[in-house]
Symmetry: C2
Subunit: 712 residues, 2 copies
């Protein structure tokens, strides 16, 4: 291991030096950056002075957080205690200059400029929020060399490409704790995201306390929900970090949890209780529906618990509920979901069908449209801009309703409602198409999101990374979202021409460590989970293997889980298998890939040595790992991978030897390639991610293998 | 590394088998335990049924937590969802049978009995709280062998030796967050502790929101305090785990933070602001006091901010404040501190001296006694039992006031107020003497606490582990307290004759992993801190070194820190040096020590191999670590240790070779011993902990070196 690490380190430094110089370690990359020579050395005399509009608690809190962050990072024991308006000092190490106090908001000016010379750093911003963004840049500028910590001298002018850069987090399938929410908000702030889209209700759980309708949280959850005090605290916490909270209350479908306490609002009789969508139908075998033989059938024919749009009491209820929530979420936006309603619950209710006939409605699509229109009216009444998933879109949709695109245009299962640019001719658009983190795709896939690349309509407000939580809970959520979400944050903030994937990955893993330092648990929970898997025995060798595994892509893991434990709810299925705890886009893969590329394209000798060190470690690892498998069911799921990784590494080493000796042997290449293809096979929803690179070593050159991922 | 780990593992299993069989992995050891043959296998059909008094929310919450804990630990995807009173089933895998609903309290019956056969586990308890204790035993019973998870068949009868088993946590010097508090309460529950003694105010910070006197938290803190909602939530959270919260509001001394908002209550004029005790005096050079040349001088002569006991407004204020706090903390106990008041602030106030004369008081001790009496009256009024540190003790102290012993009887700096047994003849006594976790002592020192061993007066209620936080913050607090506090918890729960230190350590490190699984951050924060120290570079070799370092003992680290950064407050001094982040009683030391003992006393060949593997790793380590030192100030603090550890390991290896060859050479032994003595030297408040064992290898036999630790 030792050699690998040192060489890999050395090597990653080389990449940084030879690579796209002007990005430094910044993520997202600023709009304009001019690197200058010289370094601003950080000492224990480091001081901050806030100038301009100083009656701004949010600004001072942020400045103090950054000050203590740097204090802790450098360990220098800075002399200033709590920075206040009285600390005004023109010769401070860092001057923060803000013109106008402003609150977090979609339309707030987020620009800032920053100049770091050897003597002083000056951060200028028009608003508080711009200053908050610039302060994050300052944290990321802090670097270290052989003389200690410093800021590189630099001039930055920065502002975002899109004004809506969100993270959608589902807390219904698995409840995500108040503490976890705060950790994720901190990470969002680090990469300049500005919208937390909080998916608070779904079939599986109603996660907000309602004082008007207490049965919503009492019967609609397993006891895990946020109190109103907690909701307000999260809103405040986010606002202090320049982040707006947009709540989603999904309707008319995905609404089973509402009906646990208020079955009279549903299209079919109760009782209801929170749980998977299919639950209600399974409990009602008397309902005759078309047979289900595929996932497409489920999508089309499932009778999912759905609001009754023909019941006036529904709108009275929603009116009051929306009013209550508007008092908690001041952002001015509210998301109504409105996705994935196949109309089956309506078709099976004669009263609803009669009502439709009476109102000359041809299809349940018309009824869905009617429902959305009515809810739009309630939103207007409560001064909220309505957002809905793209299913709300139609040519009569009011022009200020925001359409949230999520269905990939090339999807065969569910019909997309149009391309983002086309929808944007009629309505403002948010893009989550291509940004689904729960599909376990590598970061670069999201980074290259074609939908964003093609976005040329100013009515496209931006987008959101989306994390659904059927397979994520408090213990693995950080690693599900981060660091990959940072690549999406960069895509939404940085200029469209920032597209260097290798440089993105270099910065992504620097940021990943930075987030770890700041308290995000993506790395620590991974390590903790490995300890659980080995029952407290050393995890060193297990981690050698798991560092090169990732989950199968798309919904394959979700489907497999539902097959394996159909009786378990999402909420109580332990997410402790290898496929639950590993990271989706392992750093080792990217490092190894870069080395193989460098070696094959430039015959770099250092790269070869580093590759050999990796391969040696992998080759030996199975022997060390074997003793841990005995009686350990969860670990046995990767027993084949362990064997295969060792065998693949041996092939890789032989390939290097043959190249060194100049041997070419097409038969050998073919035979090894066939073997390696077998090793690519998934076992228990995990797969080895470094087989393609070993295959490249075998054939002796890099191959641009199209990495095509589909949801199923 | 590989060989070490496997051998050490193998070996620790052997210890378990040959050692004190009947403790299993339980910590604390139960009163009576009969191990039986057979194992109760855990499958995904594992179910729980609660019987007896079932109208008990706290019990059901606890049962569900334990159920999900086992579900997660085993990864079996249990079928039961949320266990409720309707799940009554006589053939459930686990029957929990509780007679009486009861709330957490000092005098509640905590006994339980437990019988695990191959078919079923039955837990019987008189009260809810007894059941909670028994449920923790069930978690600890869950073990794993080559066929999977199981409970060993066993019969247990259990109840605690002492009824007061506390953790005292100072949140004034460094604020400890709400989230951290919960984590620590979880860990306390795991080892059956029942009192959280919360040191909420001190010179450095006032950490509770007061609605009657808002300047207390507003001016008395740096903004870090618990809101009343949070305080109540912590009280509830603890109560649900069978833990009582006893708040401490320190007075008349240690009270600077009170006076920031209300200077009129103090004995000297303001202004005041929260900070180190010495601060006020430093800001008032006009105050002429005897010169300070030693810590003893400081103790005797410092003018510390102190309440004015002659001011009636003080009692009016405290009356209202105590009443407000009584509404938040329902335990019936309140701690008034009353420690370390040297009377200087009073002596320097002519008005106070005049009042004393007028009231025929001879000394400031009389005035302290008067103050305590008055506060005792307020406590009575608000139906609270008063607790104070031992300085409240005198022969006229009301019989129901609890005296909290903390001053070691052999201390030369501060006079003890008597032995626990003697004080207990007059008043109930709590013992923290010998339980100060902030002195960085190894767990066995606390485990062997003579003061508890000698306790033979039934008026000794129990004791408390104590963690002061000058050197601990949110990032390292878990590792400061745990796992060592578990040894204290066992001392207070288990029978007095449970004294096997080796077996205690075996179980302590099993528990340590268990606490990690459950979410305590003592291990993860250690690893995270190492990543900060290496700036995200691999920490493997650093950890080889830091795993065998511990802090210098007593207050030496505190004094050094105050010398080095006199301008910094505790709250903002970054605690990121090696001495801040390492664990106080590293597991490696105990494992190595056990191996050396086994080898030297029994010439065990496996032990020798494991020792050699450790020594080889240490010997090579310095070479690997060297590249990390360059420019890294914090790491350079252990550069000498790194060199010395490698050199010491080489000596150890040579000693083994010589023993194998039967060479005896007194001159060589003497020379190496001298060298090793030099390696024992501390650098930057850390020391290598395995030098004594290497010295034993050199001289060829174990030596019972008295490990004597003093505070200074």
């Amino acid at each position: 291991m030792k050699k690998i690490i040192l060489i890999a380190l050395l090597f990653s430094c080389c990449i940084a030096v030879n690579g796209q110089q002007n990005t430094l370690n910044l993520m997202p990359v600023p709009k304009q950056l001019t690197a200058m020579s010289g370094k601003n050395r950080i000492t224990n005399k480091f001081t901050v002075s806030v100038q301009g509009n100083v009656a701004d608690t949010v600004l001072f809190k942020a400045v103090n957080r950054v000050y203590q962050n740097l204090n802790r990072k450098t360990g220098l024991a800075f002399g200033q205690q709590y920075i206040t308006p009285t600390d005004k000092n023109d010769s401070a190490s860092l001057i923060v200059n803000v013109k106008t106090k402003a609150e977090a908001g979609i339309d707030v000016n987020e620009s800032y400029s920053l100049k770091a010379t050897e003597k002083q750093i000056v951060l200028n911003a028009v608003t508080t929020i711009g200053a908050l963004r610039g302060l994050q840049t300052i944290i990321q500028l802090c670097d270290k060399d052989e003389s200690g910590y410093y800021f590189p001298c630099v001039v930055i002018e920065d502002s975002p490409r899109f004004k809506w850069r969100g993270l959608m987090l589902d807390v219904a399938r698995h409840f995500i704790s108040y503490e976890e929410m705060k950790r994720n908000i901190d990470a969002m702030a680090a990469v300049k995201m500005n919208v937390l889209h909080w998916h608070l209700t779904d079939d599986e759980g109603f996660r907000v306390e309602s004082k008007l309708f207490p049965l919503l949280h009492q019967k609609g959850s397993n006891g895990d929900y946020y109190t109103q005090a907690q909701l307000k605290e999260i809103v405040r916490y986010a606002a202090e970090r320049g982040i707006v909270v947009v709540p989603e209350f999904d309707m008319p479908g995905h609404a089973q949890s509402w009906f646990a306490g208020y079955p009279e609002l549903a299209s079919q009789p109760g009782p209801y209780h929170p749980g998977p969508r299919m639950q209600w139908q399974k409990e009602h075998p008397e309902i005759k529906t078309p047979p289900v033989t595929s996932i497409a059938d489920i999508v089309a024919n499932m009778v999912a618990p759905t609001f009754d749009p023909t019941n006036e009491k529904v709108y009275d209820f929603l009116d009051k509920f929306i009013g209550e929530m508007a008092g908690i979420f001041p952002s001015g936006y509210m998301h109504i979901g409105a996705d994935e309603n196949n109309g089956q619950a309506w078709k099976l209710n004669p009263k609803i069908m009669g009502w439709m006939k009476q109102h000359q409605m041809q299809s349940t699509d018309d009824l869905q449209r009617y429902f959305v229109e009515r809810v739009y009216g309630l939103m207007k009444k409560h001064h909220r801009t309505m957002i809905g998933w793209e299913e709300i879109y139609n040519d009569k949709l009011p022009k200020d309703a925001i359409v949230h695109k999520w269905i990939p245009s090339d999807n065969s299962m569910i019909k997309s409602y149009g391309m983002a640019n086309d929808i944007a001719q009629h309505n403002p658009v948010l893009i989550s198409e291509g940004f689904y983190l729960d599909l376990f795709l590598p970061a670069y896939i999201h980074y290259n999101n074609a939908s964003i690349a093609a976005a040329n309509n100013p009515n496209i407000l931006g987008g959101e990374a989306a994390q659904w939580t059927e397979l994520a809970d408090n213990n693995n959520i950080d690693g599900r979202i981060w660091p990959r979400a940072a690549a999406i944050a960069e895509r939404l903030w940085s200029p469209a021409n920032v597209t260097d994937v290798d440089d993105m990955y270099r910065r992504l893993y620097v940021l990943s460590n930075e987030l770890d330092e700041q308290g995000l648990n993506h790395l620590t929970n991974y390590e903790r989970a490995l300890r659980l898997l080995t029952n407290g025995e050393p995890t060193e060798h297990l981690q050698v293997l798991t560092d090169v595994l990732s989950q199968v892509k798309g919904y394959r893991k979700l489907v497999a889980m539902m097959m394996r434990a159909p009786q378990a709810s999402y909420q109580t299925t332990p997410l402790t298998s290898v496929s639950d705890v590993i990271l989706a886009d392992p750093a080792t893969k990217r490092k190894f890939r870069a080395l193989v590329k460098l070696y094959l394209e430039k015959k770099d000798k250092n790269a070869e040595e580093a590759i050999r060190a990796y391969l040696q470690t992998w080759k030996q690892n199975d022997t060390y790992l074997q003793p841990l498998f005995a009686g350990n069911k969860r670990l046995m799921e990767v027993q084949d991978h362990s064997k295969n990784l060792s065998a693949a590494a041996a092939i890789g080493l032989e390939a290097l030897d043959r190249m060194d000796k100049g041997i070419t042997d097409a038969a050998w290449v073919q035979k090894q390639s066939d073997v390696l293809t077998v090793f690519e096979k998934a076992h228990y929803e995990t797969e080895i991610v470094v087989i393609p690179e070993i295959e490249e070593l075998v054939i002796g050159h890099t191959i641009a293998k199209p990495e095509k991922y589909s949801a199923f």
